[in-house]
Amino acid sequence: MSELLRAGAAELAGRIATGEVSAREVTAAHLDQIAAVDDRIKAFLYVDGERALAAADAVDAHRAAGDELGPLAGVPLAMKDIFTMKGAPTTCGSRILEGWVPPYNSTITDKLLAAGVVVLGKTNMDEFAMGSSTENSGFFTTHNPWDNTRIPGGSGGGSAAALASFEAPLAIGTDTGGSIRQPASVTGTVGVKPTYGGTSRYGVVAMASSLDTPGPCARTVLDAALLHQVIAGWDPRDATSINAPVPDVVAAARHADVKGMRIGVVREFGGEGYQPGVEQRFAESLAVLEGLGAEIVEVSCPHFDYALAAYYLIMPSEVSSNLARFDAMRYGLRVGDDGVNSVEEVMNLTRGAGFGAEAKRRIIIGTYALSSGYYDAYYGSAQKVRTLITRDFDAAFEKVDVLVSPTTPTTAFTIGERADDPLAMYKADLCTIPSNLAGNCAASVPCGLADGLPVGFQIMAPALADDRLYRVGAALERELTSRWGGGLLDQLAESPSGAYLKVGGVR
């Protein structure tokens, strides 16, 4: 069984397609792994084994009938609890949505189901995707499979931890300021934030509409590309989605050639605040890419220094408006409805009880930033900085094909370490935020360990050039895994500290 858990999505899909293994067996193996380790990992908020097995059976039936199967048919997936799926509770990690069962599917849910992907359940996240550790979840904190005393990153820590603990070979997340890439970085998995508008937001509970980007999470670059291909594309139900062909990311991941590519190192990302081991792995990765024929150049993006500040004005502004609808009137939590309290009192009591501290903090900051008399100084200035950051990217991409940096300045910190220090928490997204502000695409791929914990290598490419992420990521991955004799997570699976996962000794 553990051999099915160690296999990647591409391999599993191939074996299901040939009939070597049934989708039911694959799904059952992953459900068993969840049952075995999730008490410790706490990646899932909700698992629906029956539904997953029924979906797997449907794939097996299609195969038996001789139907052609899609490239990911029968492969299990962990879905961040921010996507709506008919009949499955969606909480977005918040108590205020507890009990809400959406009556509709997100566009991405529809695409996954149509592709025969088997959804195992919904994964834990920081409340409304606000955080870098899952400690802001209204329910519980997810643990990093590499070291259970450490955070799995956030907001999509549940999805990343599910991958790293071999509970699922694929996961899906959303990235507003780094919520796919930072968890990928600290769990040794692959996470991609596609170009804004390249993946539909319809049915994705909004945090900050102008930044939110759904994207694929996997254990290999190719698996991420296969999932990217399934979920990307224009959606008439999302006015901000881009009506353009999806770049051939799968071909790029298979091609994995960086010869002649110009790779820019962002000068502003490094130095103070960066863990030495992280900088070391990053430097080694640059050398690997150079060895593969890429040209490494240093690039300055002077306005990236202001990205965090601008982000923490624009994002909360949108949050303050997007989270207004949670008012107890139509769904979710309702507190204080005693027949005496007024509508306003019920709204106040419910929002007071239902939102966690970080959600409240951002609602308050955003409300302030949009207030009459402050709008120009805060929201208005932040939008100008956003434009300057976009111009930095434009200028850089005149000179280089991609930009690179560490994904996050440090490896996984311990649970509780930054919980009471929002600014320290926010700094985890220092390197990932600029791509959200500019709307271009970026990815994190594992590039080794520092002090025994995974380090992520971030690649940033221009809007609609998502294929470049996969070319560079796959090239780096191929070279590093050949040096290591397997993927980074294989090291966890085979190590004593990963013994509890019970997936060792099969490869």
Binding site: T84, P102, Y104, G203, A208, S317, A324, D327, Y331
Partner: protein, 497 residues
């Protein structure tokens, strides 16, 4: 409830009123502003809803292109500039009738701006300057139950119907309107009436005030004559008819004048118009100006109508209703009163078509406002819905003019057409309604009438011409009405006088 008021003439002797009108027009697009749900009026509550107009988590708006087209056409008809590029904005406030607790509207970038309309009120022309016309979505409907007033204050509970949530609205805002003096209420009424007719002629809205598909918020302030500083204004809501627009402003001017004359200050607030008692009561104070925290709607992309498209839409504009009325009145030679009757009866279009088919304007007016108005009223339908076309009405009049039928017979012809018996000419044949023109047959009938009424005949011979009536009546009766009364009269007098 009613506040003290000053006599209107007295008020106007001391103060100049300044108006500002905000009109919301519900567009008649088949689907809502940001989703595919139907906008049909009167459906079962909460049946015309979906994740988008219910504002469910994760749902996203997509702009209805037809609504943009209507907005641009309205803007053009109001002589506005049309934005090259504009955005939607979120207006943030908590209220249960807003499913998202923000309204998608437009703020500092309206689709249409800087326009005007010229209105004629009692022979005096007033230019109303339009500040802006912007797009937004309507809220749901709240029903406050269990109380006596139907307002939230004393309700036991409230019901929500989100069928209306997301219906496209255009809000048209005037600049401040000065210099209307005592005609302020009439000018306001004329303006709203103009907008109503305009929306109908553009075909963009039903513009029915009683169904709230056209709503007016009437702002008014007054300032002492000779001063130039604007007074504090009130915004009167619940003004649900043209008459109410005029009456509410009339009242509000008098009320504010009473406040100022007695040394008080007008509160900047909304006022609620009570149609039945003709007074206003205070609503929400506007001095603690609510901060709606507008910002550009991040779920939507900017609207950038091409100049070519705008020009194409300009070419689709109908003649403005007020100009059309003036033109028709001039062409037809109708008095103001006659034209008003025609407009009130909704007969402008059918009369124009009847005249175009060859009838005289007066004849067309007569048929549509009397016989046909009565028939439509009986059937409970609009004039245009009657089973007779303007061309057929013109044909009936043609038969009268040719002497084929008289007025009384013509009404029977109309009855036949409405009953589906064919064209007017066919009904005349089928019902044998043509007047008898054979003079021999008529002369014989006249002879028989003289013989049967010797007294009347004798009186006529004695010079009492008015006695001819009895003989004419007898002949008409014998001919079952199918004779031309004037011809009969000539024959009677020729034989006896």
């Amino acid at each position: 409830m009613s506040s003290p008021v000053l006599d209107f003439d007295e008020a106007l002797a001391a103060f100049d009123p300044v108006l500002g009108l905000e009109v919301h027009v519900e567009l008649n697009t088949a689907s809502k502003m940001f989703c595919g749900c139907s906008t049909a009026f009167g459906a079962e509550p909460n049946t015309h809803t979906c994740p988008v107009c219910l504002g469910l988590p994760g749902s996203l708006p997509v702009v209805n292109a037809k609504a943009i087209e209507s907005a641009i056409r309205i803007g053009l008809a109001l002589n506005c500039s049309i934005a090259d590029w504009c955005r939607f904005a979120r207006k943030n406030y908590f209220y249960p009738d807003m499913t998202k607790d923000f309204q998608i509207s437009q703020y500092d970038e309206p689709i249409a701006f800087d326009g005007y309309v010229d209105l004629d009120v009692d022979g005096e022309t007033f230019r109303i300057e339009i500040e802006r016309a912007h797009m937004e979505e309507d809220a749901g409907k709240l029903l406050h139950l269990g109380g006596s007033t139907g307002r939230i204050g004393d309700a036991e509970y409230s019901l929500l119907d989100y069928n209306r949530a997301g219906t496209p609205l255009i809000e048209i805002v005037t600049k401040t309107i000065h210099g209307t003096g005592a005609k302020a209420p009439q000018v306001a009424k004329a303006y709203v009436s103009f907008l109503r007719d305009l929306m109908v002629s553009l075909g963009v809205s039903d513009a029915r005030m009683e169904q709230a598909s056209l709503r007016c918020d009437a702002n008014v302030s007054i300032m002492p004559k000779g001063t130039t500083t604007l007074g504090l204004r009130t915004e009167t809501k619940n003004v649900n008819s043209l008459r109410s627009v005029e009456r509410a402003l009339h009242h509000e001017i008098r009320r504010q004048a009473a406040v100022l004359s007695s040394g008080g200050t007008v509160q900047q607030e909304t006022r609620h118009w009570h149609e039945d008692g003709e007074y206003t009561t205070p609503g929400r104070l506007k001095s603690d100006a609510e901060d709606y925290r507008y910002f550009p709607e991040p779920d939507l992309v900017p609207v950038a109508p091409s100049r070519e498209w705008v020009e194409e839409l300009r070419a689709t504009l109908p003649e403005l209703p007020n100009l059309r009325k003036l033109r028709l009145q001039r062409d037809w030679g109708f008095t103001d009163l006659e034209l008003q009757d025609v407009v009130n009866a909704g007969a402008l279009d059918v009369i124009e078509a009847t005249v175009a088919a060859g009838a005289s304007p007066q004849a067309a007016r007569k048929w549509w406002l009397t016989e046909l108005a009565r028939r439509a009223n009986e059937a409970g339908v609009e004039l245009a819905e009657l089973a007779i076309t303007p061309a057929q009405v013109a044909e009936v009049q043609g038969l009268v003019d040719a002497g084929t039928v008289n007025d009384k017979l013509a009404r029977q012809v109309i009855e036949g057409v409405l009953a589906g018996e064919g064209s007017p000419a066919e009904v005349v044949v089928a019902r044998n309604l043509a007047v008898v023109s054979d003079s021999g047959e008529l002369a014989a009938a006249v002879d028989r009438a003289i013989a049967a009424n010797p007294d009347a005949a004798a009186r006529i011979r004695d010079g009492h011409v008015q006695a001819a009536g009895a003989l004419i009546g007898a002949v008409m009766k014998e001919m079952r009405g199918q004779a031309d009364a004037a011809t009969v009269r000539e024959l009677v007098l020729a034989k006896l006088a």
